[in-house]
Structure formats: structure tokens, C-alpha cells
Subunit: 392 residues, 2 copies
């Protein structure tokens, strides 16, 4: 099923999971979420990955037909997993973790019954999210590849603008540009409440419209069924446009926002943009393994306060309560850079830092980049020009 | 918060839910899923809609700020729902339904505890899906609007093709066309395993690649993280291209597939396409309120068998086991047109019918249209040309 390289990669991922399972005295975890199946097998399939502390991973597959491997078992219903474990004389787990934060209640209960009399715990999501927060060199290579494509496509954005365009018209061109550069389109989010299409193109007053979603920025969107992002307003002189477009070029996403301007902007917009760059610089200096992400958030908020722009920091009418977030297979992984976050940076973590400001009647300013935590500090993976770039 | 029109629409939706709740002797349902919140309020928000048999709907909102109404209650955490129910002296439910097929296990348990000592049941998803299967005139108007935009945009597809294009290049142009016609982009699916970007553009041999998803058609996709749809193959002479692109123009989706050809096709491709049209015609004649959807599936499968093309029916290497599905806010609503389906057509149901065939080394043929169940039969909502249209 896989190249030798990927077999050893899977082995190292499995070891990380086993270490985490041992810490909580669990014998196995059953993964079912698409993001986790992709992590544990290198491809999305419909089924389950049974990952025991002792023994091999078993892949229970419903679809697609045609996967091969002596640890690939085709099933029609989940109850067949129990038959197969017995047939293979796999030791029955005493304690099994399930993905309690993504598996629906009814499906969880059905799975828990299948593994009776095991003690079944719903802390599997928390465990796998902790593991996935620290990327392997293989994953980092995919993130670098996404970052490179993301950068290249962003450099071409200004050329897409034509006078009189609405925010959505500009967005359609950027979406196509992204796809032409290899963007897979799909924007994977964790959590049942998050929805977005390919990303946000926010200009002028619309940037100050609160949205239901826990993204850094809002916008009214085109319809109440998806109230976020561009809303069809003409981009006007004296306004900014922030482009925060999907960086999923490899199955691993980078996050990148840049601001463009039409005509002259008021001084306060330029000032707030500079504060965003200062925050990034300060955090780049502080961030290294062992640093609490809450400290990074505090530094960002303090800087905004000291510079007199806290009213606009991370939104205006509605504020996001974080300044950064882990990213990888999903856009909202661990760690979270927030005031109440308990997480500490580790080497191999990858996070997006997005100190942003919404200036009423002007639009959003600030930047977003994706950073890798290295042994000594952080490395910026997305590197295109950070200035406010004129569209005219 | 709403126009008078929409208040009466919400009232009629609520009445349908109350009727369904009474049938199972439940006192209330708590809705939290985005599709259901949109159904129950006319907009997506982050929070909960508490829908009791007796008394008014209460909207518990976490985000966005700014919603107004004397039944809108802002909360920071779900436990505040209980405080508010007590404050308003709302009768405590004896039996409460939760969305057991979409609420994650851990969140479900937290909500169940909040409503203790109520008996909490996980059958809320099944109930609301039954209710949503029968559309109101207001919803049907939105589906008609989506169908009209969907048709208009499909008529322009052949002009987008340029010689030598790959399937993905063709797809990027169709995606932009859809967006320019008002497509919201987001493709809402029910169930944790379903993922797709904007739709499928499948040509030639790639159409026979099995996918992990329960869509009618497969395709390898561009990456193992989203193994479905176009895979970057050049569209060759003698091949077909099936376009099955997102029809979400209003929050309510229509489903529509058409086939295009490059050069001459073998006779078996034309024959299978004609069988698809015959199946549609037969089902149009049979379908009316009271007819079992399993009978419609059986008729489709029998026709394919009688015409000698059952090997290619609904896929070849991997087959889909349905020939149609309900559609509305999500692409996979009730009823399902499948062999084991227990559902019976009712006036107001809307379903996509997609008798499709995959001809190895040629590609997919067949069609898909969206139908409304009327008092006497069915009405086809999507009406663009059903012939195989040449790209050259």
C-alpha cells in the first residue's frame, strides 16, 4: 500500500501515539475522523484505524474497494471489527479511547458496545490532537511545499484586480488563482460549528460585520446560510482588502493573510498595520520551545494596548480571543495563542500568527504568517511581502 | 430579527416539528447543528435553538453579537441555558431530543447533564431530518431559484472548454462560472465521513477510480487527502466528461449532472446514456405521493439489467447503492432511493435522481436532475439539455 519511506513515517507517528496512550494507561485508540485517518494511513478512507499499544495498526475499510495490505480488513459494518480482532487473536483492550469530540453520540455508543467489556473513554480526540500538534519532518516538508505555493500565488494577487470590482468578484479570481496553483480547495476545520468556503476576502465596512464562526475575521457573506466573508460590496478608494485564502496545497494547510489598498489610506490604518508587524517581530523574538502560548497572546494584546489600537485589535464590533492557532491537516489545530491557553511551545509545532485590526469604514489591516517552532526559536514559512500593497 | 413573512414561515416549520415531537411523546428538541439552526432561524449562528412543544422557540446565541429579539438570549456557555429556562419559568422538559447523529459524544453528554433530570434521547437527528425532507412552499421557492441559476450556468459550460485541457483545468473554469452565477461555494453534506470541494468533473478512466465517499461517482482526486473527483488527466478524444457541480445558490442546493464529449463515442456509451434517460422517464411516470422509494430504485436497476448495462450502473469497479437522494440545505437529505429504503414519497419532498453509468476507458454517462414531489406526480426543477453535448 505504501512506499518504504512512508511506512517508516507511519511507524514514527504510531510511536508518538503509543507514548501518549501509555501516559493515560490506555491500550488502544480507534480513529474514525477523516483528518485522523489521513494522519494514520496517508489517505482518507471510509472506515476505522485501530491503533494498539502492542501490535500492528489494523485498517478496517468500508470504501474505497481496492486497498491492499495484510493489515487492511474490509468490513460492511463496524461489528465486524470485533470478529476480526478475535480471529487474529489480538488482545482485547482493557481501555480504549474514542474520538469523543468528533464522533457523534449514537455512533460512539455503537462502537463502545462493540468493544465491550473494555472501558471506553471519549478522550481520544484530545490525545490525537496533542500528538498531531507536533509535526514530523515529513509533515513539515509538506507544510513547506504548501507555503511555497501559497507565497507564489499571493504574489500574483494584485494583478487580478480590475477597477470597479466587488469583493466577491475579486475573490472569484483569487479562488481560481489558488486552484491553478494546486490548491485542493477543501478547507478542513475541526469542530462541528466551523464552516467556510475557500477563505475570506474582506474589504471596507464589511470587515466589521460579526460572524458566527470562530475565525479571526468576520464579514456578512452573501447569504444568511453562510454569513462570513465577502458580501458583494464594491471595493472603494480609501479602503483596504484583506485576503486570507486557503493554503491547502498538499493536505497540509498553511495560513497567510495580506492586505491590499485602493487609493490613500488614513494614517491610523498604516499605524495599526505597523503595530501588527511589531507584534509579529516581538513574538518571533520570544517564541521558542518551552514558552507558554498565553504569554505570546499577552504580548500581542499589550502591544496593541500600548500603541492605542486595542479597540481595533482582532476585530472591532466582535473580537476574536486569540492571535494565533496551530495548523496542519486542519486550520484550527493546537496550540492556540490565547489568554487562557495552557499550551507550551514544542519543537515541531506549526502555528499561524495573525495579529489583525479592523479599522471602521477603512477595513482590515495586519498580516498572518505560518511559523515552525525550531530547536532555538521559530522559522517563518510564508515569506511574501508584508507591506500594504496598492491595487491601483 | 425577521420580516413578517419569515415569521410565519418559521411558525409553520415549528408546527411540523411540534407534530413530530408529539408523535414520540417528547417535550422539546434542542438544535445545534448549523443546517438545523439555519432551518429553525433563517440564519446560521453559533449556539442552540430550543424548540418546545408548548411555548416559543428560544435562541441561545454565542456568536455573532448583534442579533435581536425577545427570544434571543446571549450565553457564553451552554449551562446558562438552564438558568434562562428557570428565569423565564419555562416548564422543564420531561423528554428532550438531541441530535444524536451529529452532536459529538462529549458535547452531547454535557448538554444532557444540563437538562437533567429530563430523559434525553439521541433521536433528534432522525426527527429533524424527517421534518426537513418535506419542504415548505418557501423552501421550494429557494430551490426553484437555485435550479434556475444552476441551469443557466450549465448552459455556458461547453464554451469554457479549450483543446488540451485537463479535467482539473476544466473544473477550475466551471467553479469560477458557478461562483459568478451566485454559487455560495460551500457544499453542505450530512454525516462525518462526507467531504467534497465544489463538485466533480470526471472524465475517462478516472471515473472508474473508487473513492471513500458515499457519492454516486468517484475519481482519484489530486491528493490522497481528498481522493475524489478530477485527477489532472488530459481530456482525450473518445472520452466523456461528467460535470456534477454544486448548486448551492440560495442556501438550498439543487443537484444537476450533465455529460460532455470530445470526438466520437462508442455506441455503448450512447446506449447507456439513453438507458439513463429511459430510467428517468420511467421514474417520472411512477413517482407520486405514496410510492415507496425502494420501488423507484428497483425500477432503475431492473431497467439497467434489461438493457444489458447493469455492469456499469452506478459505477463499475465500485458501485453506489442508490439512484437518488433527498436534497435541500444538505446534499444528502431524505428520502434515499435505494433498495433497502423504507421511505415513501410525500408531497413537498425534493430529490435528485441520478441514474449514471461508468463505461471503462470512455467515462461516465447519464444525467442527474432535481425533482419536486407534487400532489399528482413529480416536477423536474432542473431543465437544461439532457443530450451528451460535444465540447469540440
Amino acid at each position: 500500500m505504501y512506499t518504504a519511506d512512508f511506512v517508516s513515517e507511519l511507524q514514527s507517528r504510531k510511536e508518538k501515539i503509543v507514548t501518549a496512550l501509555r501516559k493515560v494507561s490506555a491500550d488502544a485508540i480507534l480513529l474514525t475522523d477523516n483528518a485522523n485517518l489521513y494522519y494514520m494511513s496517508g489517505r482518507v478512507f471510509c472506515g476505522y484505524a485501530y491503533v494498539p499499544v502492542e501490535g500492528r495498526i489494523l485498517y478496517f475499510v468500508r470504501r474505497p474497494v481496492g486497498l491492499r495490505g495484510d493489515n487492511v480488513v474490509y468490513i460492511r459494518k463496524p461489528e465486524q471489527m470485533a470478529e476480526e480482532l478475535r480471529r487474529r487473536e489480538v488482545p482485547w483492550p482493557s481501555t480504549l479511547l474514542l474520538e469523543g469530540d468528533s464522533l457523534p453520540f449514537n455512533e460512539y455508543n455503537r462502537l463502545a458496545e462493540i468493544f465491550a467489556p473494555a472501558q471506553v473513554l471519549g478522550s481520544g480526540t484530545a490525545l490525537i490532537r496533542q500528538v498531531r500538534a507536533v509535526k514530523t519532518p515529513y509533515e513539515i516538508a509538506l507544510l513547506r511545499k504548501s507555503a511555497a505555493s501559497h507565497d507564489t500565488m499571493y504574489r500574483r494577487i494584485p494583478k487580478l484586480y480590475k477597477e470597479g470590482m466587488t469583493d466577491v468578484e475579486f475573490s472569484f479570481e483569487i479562488e481560481r488563482l489558488a486552484r491553478q496553483h494546486g490548491c485542493l480547495g477543501i478547507f478542513r476545520t475541526f469542530g462541528r460549528s466551523m464552516e467556510i468556503f475557500m477563505g475570506n476576502v474582506l474589504s471596507g465596512e464589511n470587515a466589521d460585520t460579526p460572524s458566527p464562526y470562530d475565525f479571526a475575521m468576520g464579514g456578512a457573506g452573501l447569504d444568511n446560510s453562510l454569513p462570513v466573508g465577502a458580501n458583494g460590496s464594491v471595493i472603494r478608494r480609501g479602503e483596504t482588502v484583506m485576503v486570507d485564502m486557503n493554503g491547502n496545497f498538499t493536505g497540509y494547510m498553511t495560513d497567510l493573510s495580506r492586505v491590499f489598498s485602493l487609493g490613500q489610506l488614513p494614517a491610523e490604518a498604516h499605524h495599526a498595520h505597523q503595530v501588527s508587524l511589531s507584534i509579529q517581530q516581538a513574538i518571533q523574538r520570544m517564541a521558542r520551545p518551552g514558552v507558554a502560548t498565553a504569554e505570546l497572546y499577552a504580548k500581542a494584546a499589550e502591544t496593541a494596548e500600548a500603541e492605542g489600537v486595542s479597540d481595533f485589535f482582532m476585530g472591532h464590533r466582535q473580537k476574536a480571543h486569540f492571535v494565533g492557532h496551530g495548523i496542519g491537516i486542519e486550520v484550527n489545530e493546537l496550540p492556540v495563542l490565547a489568554l487562557r491557553s495552557k499550551e507550551v511551545l514544542e519543537e515541531g509545532m506549526v502555528f499561524a500568527l495573525e495579529p489583525k485590526f479592523v479599522i471602521p469604514s477603512v477595513g482590515p489591516v495586519g498580516i498572518e504568517n505560518t511559523f515552525l517552532v525550531t530547536a532555538e526559536g521559530v522559522e517563518k514559512l510564508t515569506t511574501c511581502d508584508e507591506a500594504i500593497l496598492p491595487l491601483d
